[in-house]
Amino acid sequence: MTPTEKPFLQIQGVHKTFRRGATETEVLHDISLDIAEGEFVSIIGHSGCGKSTLLNLVAGLTRVTTGAVLLENREVNDPGPERAVVFQNHSLLPWLTVYENVHIAVNKVFGRTKSRAERHDWTLHNLDLVQMAHAKDKRPAEISGGMKQRVGIARALAMEPKVLLMDEPFGALDALTRAHLQDSVMQIHARLGNTAIMITHDVDEAVLLSDRIVMMTNGPSARIGEVLDVDLPRPRERLELVADTRYIQAREAVLKFLYERHRFVEAA
């Protein structure tokens, strides 16, 4: 990104206040962040720090109180497929098959621009991308948690989003499945070059996947505490990184932020 070029996604002085009856709670305080095209950014923080709220603001599912979110210089006011979301609990529609879950998104986004056959191929292509084409006729209840999340990712990717938003996408998975899916996401990111924002509370995950890690202070009135550049070459190999000093330093920096300076005081 040259200095004159406008950043791809801008979060400018965003405040978010939730009002319940007479009480107002400020969840996010003056968040500003620029994200370049193709960048993979993780947002990490303790639970309750408003990181999911921040993602919902970018998704347009929640409206900012003050400030603005700009994507390619256009203000984000409502949700849309160019900011596809991979939800924490996969959010597949249980009455549709795996194929139909992706196809409904493909039909909605490409209904006018692609032919029926192209939409079918594109659906299968995206299921292939997450290695789920073999289960295309199964219903969500018949596949494992990791597989559901893969389908959720396929559905989001199938919308060809400008920004891929992931809300703790691997949070509900066991450690082995999680590692497997992280590798998949890295491969897909390398292949497609999507701009991605991922919410996480897993330090290793953040360091492994991200170009930058945004660390949030504890809420209420959470702010961006620090932003860490992860200066590791891609493609990254989980096993090789274990001993890499840059990896260890990055990990240490995030851990120190989370557990020394911004220790979570309340019991989670």
Binding site: P79, G80, W95, A141
Partner: protein, 315 residues
């Protein structure tokens, strides 16, 4: 480790179709002997067709025999209680003597008013089909509105809650006065009896659509019509079918009340008519018919619901 290989051994000895039912105790005793695992490849082929059939028969017997026994005992008690001269109610033997034609041949036609109970049931079912069909369509539509809009709910819910407690018979004079004709008022009575649970359950189902699905719909930018068909109806389907199931039961309950004023050949009117001519045996037979048909209707809606909501129940 031993419990695993012990399982197939058990299947062909106990039951082929449903091993889970009988499998609780034997595996442990068998698993205790490690040598038993070697029998596995030899015994599995003997898991045959014959064994399957006999186990299926056994299962059918297990579900059919207990109710038969209970019915037999009830008939016996009934017979003993009413088998004396001057008893207020007819005994089973007397019913058989007086009304066996109604029991054995449901579809006879001797004259315009002298027809089998099967025909009468069909006439009543047609009436219920109209009334319940209307109740289903209006109920789901109104329920969708009430479930979607907090203001529609606040405005309408109290009214629904009051109206739904009005018994079917109470609607009779009003609907007669409004329609001036017995046929539409009978359908109206069935409709107004069955519609409330459909409305209320649909509304609850729609209010309970998980935020996740709403978010998905928003990200995909589904329009209201797409949202209705792709998200709302499937997501609320289990609730809707609960409402429909209660509704079909109620509309069948209302049939006697509805046919009291329509006359004609329905099963409800038959009871009214039999009472007026003191044919108690006929009434008992008719009650049995109504009960069986009501049971079948309930199971039918439940079955349709199960098929239609496959996969919806758990995410």
């Amino acid at each position: 480790m031993n419990a695993m290989p012990a399982r197939p051994v058990l299947i062909d000895t106990a039951s082929g179709a449903e091993p889970a039912l009988n499998s609780t105790s034997p595996p442990k005793s068998r698993a205790a002997k490690p040598s038993e695992t070697k029998v596995l490849p030899l015994k599995t082929p003997s898991h045959t067709y014959g064994a399957r059939i006999s186990s299926a028969l056994r299962e059918t017997a297990a579900t059919v025999i207990p109710p038969l026994v209970v019915v037999a005992v009830m008939l016996l008690v009934w017979q003993l209680a009413t088998d004396k001269p001057g008893a207020a109610l007819p005994s089973p033997m007397k019913i058989w003597a007086e009304a066996s034609d109604l029991i054995v041949s449901p579809f006879f036609v001797y004259g315009p008013q002298d027809i089998g109970l099967g025909w009468r049931v069909l006439t009543s079912l047609e009436r219920v089909a109209y009334g319940f069909g209307l109740a289903a369509v209006f109920g789901i539509a109104l329920g969708a509105i009430v479930g979607q809009s907090i203001w529609a709910m606040r405005g309408l819910d109290p009214i629904f809650q009051v109206l739904r407690t009005v018994p079917p018979l109470a609607w009779l004079p009003i609907s007669l006065a409004a329609f001036q004709d017995s046929a539409p008022s009978a359908v109206f009575v069935i409709f107004i009896t069955a519609v409330w649970p459909v409305i209320i359950n649909t509304a609850v189902g729609i209010r309970n659509i998980p935020q996740d699905y709403r978010n998905v719909a928003e990200v995909l930018r589904l329009n209201p019509l797409e949202y209705f068909w792709r998200i709302m109806i499937p997501s609320a389907a289990p609730y809707i079918f609960t409402g429909l199931r209660i509704g079909i039961g109620l509309s069948w309950l209302a049939i006697v009340a509805a046919e009291m004023l329509t006359g004609g050949v329905g099963i409800g009117f038959f009871i009214w008519d039999a009472w007026n001519s003191s044919r108690l045996s006929d009434i008992v037979v008719a009650l049995f018919y109504i009960g069986v048909v009501g049971f079948v209707l309930d199971r039918l809606v439940a079955f349709i619901g199960r098929v239609a909501t496959r996969g919806t129940a758990n995410a």
